[in-house]
C-alpha cells in the first residue's frame, strides 16, 4: 500500500513537472534561430504552389457586416494625421514614387476621378476570424500604370500613417504580380460610406486574396522598389518583421 502511494505521488509529481517542462522545451525550440530558418522554408514553397491565382469570392450585399470589425493598430493620433482628418482629408495627397518613370501625387478627388470599383469580399484575419465588407476604390494596377514601374521594379511598398506602440511605422509590400491583381484595390469607401478613421481613412489597401495584415490601412505613400530589404527590419512589412510570413496567401 505504501509503495503504491509512493508510486502514485511520484507519478503525479512527474506529470506536473512534465507539463511545466513542456512549455520550456517548446519555447526553446521556437526561439532556436536554426530551427526558425528551416521552418521558414515552407513560405517560398507556399508562395510558389499557391501564389495569387484565382479571384476572391464576391458576395451579395446581404452578406455585408454593417459593423465591420476594427482590429490592428490604434487609429493614428499624430499631428499630421489629425490635421488631415480635421479638414476631411482635403489636403491629403497620396504619393507614388520610387522605381517609376512618372512619380505621381493624387488628391482624393483625383483618385475618385480615375474610376472606382465596388467589390464585396471577405476579409480573413491571420488570427482566424473573418468579416465581409463592401469595398469601393481604385484598382492599384491603374495607379501603377500611370506611374510606370521601371525595369528594376519588383515590389510595391505601402508606407502608412500608423505606428506601433514602440513607434515603428506600419508598412506592407506586394510583388508586382499581386499588385496587378484585378481585385487589389486602394479602397476609399467601406459599405457605401467613405472610410472612417478607424477603418483606415482616407485610403487603405485591400488584398482579398491574402490575409488581412496585407491590407494596410492609412496609406500615405506608395513606393515602387527593386527590394524591400532597406525598409523597417527588411522583411517586407511590420508584421513580417515580427515573424509573420511575407506571403500571406495561407
Amino acid at each position: 500500500m505504501k509503495r503504491r502511494e509512493l508510486l502514485t505521488g511520484a507519478a503525479a509529481f512527474a506529470a506536473a513537472s512534465a507539463l511545466a517542462g513542456c512549455a520550456k522545451v517548446t519555447n526553446a525550440l521556437n526561439d532556436n534561430a536554426a530551427i526558425k530558418n528551416v521552418l521558414h522554408a515552407a513560405e517560398p514553397l507556399n508562395h510558389v504552389v499557391i501564389g495569387t491565382r484565382g479571384n476572391a469570392k464576391l458576395y451579395p450585399d446581404s452578406a455585408i457586416d454593417r459593423d465591420f470589425r476594427v482590429n490592428g493598430f490604434d487609429t493614428p493620433s499624430d499631428s499630421t494625421y489629425d490635421g488631415l482628418r480635421r479638414d476631411g482629408f482635403a489636403s491629403y495627397k497620396l504619393v507614388v514614387d520610387g522605381a517609376v518613370a512618372r512619380p505621381q501625387t493624387f488628391t482624393l478627388p483625383h483618385l475618385r476621378a480615375l474610376g472606382t470599383l465596388a467589390q464585396t469580399t471577405r476579409h480573413d484575419c491571420v488570427e482566424g476570424w473573418s468579416a465581409i465588407g463592401k469595398w469601393n476604390g481604385v484598382r492599384l494596377s491603374v495607379i501603377l500604370a500611370l506611374a510606370g514601374p521601371t525595369n528594376a521594379a519588383r515590389y510595391v511598398i505601402f508606407h502608412c500613417f500608423d505606428r506601433s506602440s514602440d513607434g515603428d511605422p506600419y508598412y506592407e509590400s506586394l510583388d508586382l504580380h499581386e499588385a496587378a491583381h484585378p481585385q487589389t484595390l486602394l479602397a476609399l469607401d467601406l459599405n457605401d460610406r467613405p472610410l472612417d478613421a478607424d477603418h483606415g481613412a482616407p485610403v487603405r489597401l485591400r488584398v482579398p486574396t491574402q490575409l488581412g495584415y496585407k491590407s494596410a490601412k492609412w496609406v500615405q505613400r506608395i513606393e515602387v522598389a527593386s527590394t524591400f530589404k532597406n525598409v523597417g527590419d527588411g522583411k517586407g512589412g511590420y508584421w513580417e518583421d515580427q515573424g509573420y510570413d511575407w506571403y500571406a496567401g495561407i
Partner: protein
C-alpha cells in the same frame, strides 16, 4: 527474411515459438515515425493558432449567432478570473485548464489552451504558424509517400476495409471485450484495425488537409466551391478542429491497443519491421 525464419524455426529441446515475420516495410516505418512527430507538432501549433481567435462558428464569416465553441475568461463576482468554455450555448467552468490557464511562462492568464499543450508554450501566433505550415507539408508528403508506396507494392489493399469485413466488425469487438474466445479469421490487419486505418487514411486525414487548405485565402480564391461545400470559411475552421479531435481520439485508441496487444512485439515491429505472429494473426488480406 531468411534470418527471421531461422530464428523462428523450432530448436531442439526448446518450446515451439511462433515465427518472426517481416511485417512493416522501411517506408511504412519511416513514414509512421515522421508522421508521429508531425502529428504532435501540428496539434500543438494548431492549438497555439486556435488561441489567437478561440471561437468556432458554423458559418462562412465570423458569426456569434452560429457559435459552436467559445473558450474565454470572465470575472467571478469576487473579482477572480474564471476560465469558461461554451459548447452549443452550454457553459462550463474550466479555470486552470481552459480559458484562464498557463501562459507558458510560469504564470496564468486569459488563454484558451494552456501553455503546456501549445507550440510554443507562450502566446506567439507567428511562431505557431511557422511550425504548422512547415509540418503540414511533412504530413502531406509522408501520407503521399505511404499511400504511393502501398499502391506500388500492392499491399495498401491489406489495410483497406472491404464489404466482406463488415460482418466481422462486431465479432472482433466482442473478442476485444473478452466476450468471445476467438477473433474472426482475418489477414494482416483485423477488421477493426482496417476500419480505423481506413477512416484515418481516407476520411479524417483528407478532411483535415482539405479543411486546412480551405482556410487559405489564396486557395479559397482558386477553389471557393470547396470552402462553400464545407459551409464557409469559419465552418472549415470548425471541421479542421473536429478532424483534429477525431485523429487525437484515434491516437488514444491506437496507444491503448499497442499497449494491450503485446507492447514489445508491436513496438519492435514498427522499429525493426519484425513481428512475432500471434495465434490469430494472419499475413494476407
Amino acid at each position: 527474411m531468411e534470418a527471421a525464419t531461422a530464428e523462428g524455426a523450432p530448436q531442439a529441446g526448446a518450446p515451439t515459438r511462433a515465427p518472426l515475420v517481416y511485417r512493416h516495410s522501411v517506408i511504412a516505418r519511416a513514414t509512421h515515425w515522421t508522421f508521429t512527430l508531425a502529428f504532435f507538432v501540428l496539434v500543438m501549433s494548431g492549438l497555439q493558432i486556435f488561441n489567437a481567435s478561440p471561437n468556432l462558428d458554423a458559418s462562412d464569416k465570423s458569426d456569434p449567432a452560429r457559435r459552436v465553441l467559445a473558450i474565454g475568461a470572465e470575472q467571478s463576482p469576487g473579482g477572480a478570473p474564471v476560465g469558461v468554455v461554451q459548447i452549443f450555448g452550454h457553459q462550463f467552468t474550466t479555470t486552470h485548464v481552459l480559458g484562464y490557464t498557463s501562459d507558458g511562462m510560469g504564470g496564468e492568464t486569459q488563454r484558451a489552451f494552456p501553455g503546456w499543450i501549445t507550440l510554443p508554450g507562450y502566446q506567439d501566433l507567428a511562431g505557431g504558424r511557422r511550425w504548422h505550415l512547415f509540418f503540414a507539408w511533412i504530413m502531406v508528403l509522408c501520407g503521399a509517400l505511404y499511400i504511393g508506396w502501398g499502391l506500388a507494392r500492392k499491399d495498401l489493399a491489406l489495410i483497406v476495409l472491404r464489404p466482406s469485413d463488415l460482418p466481422k466488425l462486431l465479432p472482433m469487438q466482442l473478442y476485444y471485450l473478452k466476450l468471445r474466445p476467438e477473433p474472426p479469421p482475418h489477414g494482416k490487419y483485423n477488421p477493426l484495425q482496417k476500419a480505423a486505418y481506413t477512416s484515418v487514411l481516407f476520411l479524417f486525414a483528407p478532411a483535415i488537409v482539405i479543411s486546412g487548405l480551405a482556410l487559405s485565402p489564396g486557395i479559397d480564391a482558386i477553389a471557393h466551391p470547396v470552402t462553400t461545400l464545407l459551409g464557409g470559411r469559419q465552418f472549415a475552421r470548425l471541421w479542421h478542429f473536429v478532424a483534429m479531435i477525431a485523429l487525437v481520439g484515434f491516437f488514444g485508441v491506437h496507444l491503448t491497443l499497442v499497449a494491450s496487444t503485446g507492447i514489445f512485439n508491436n513496438i519492435r515491429s514498427m522499429v525493426t519491421g519484425l513481428y512475432r505472429l500471434g495465434p490469430h494473426d494472419g499475413v494476407g488480406v
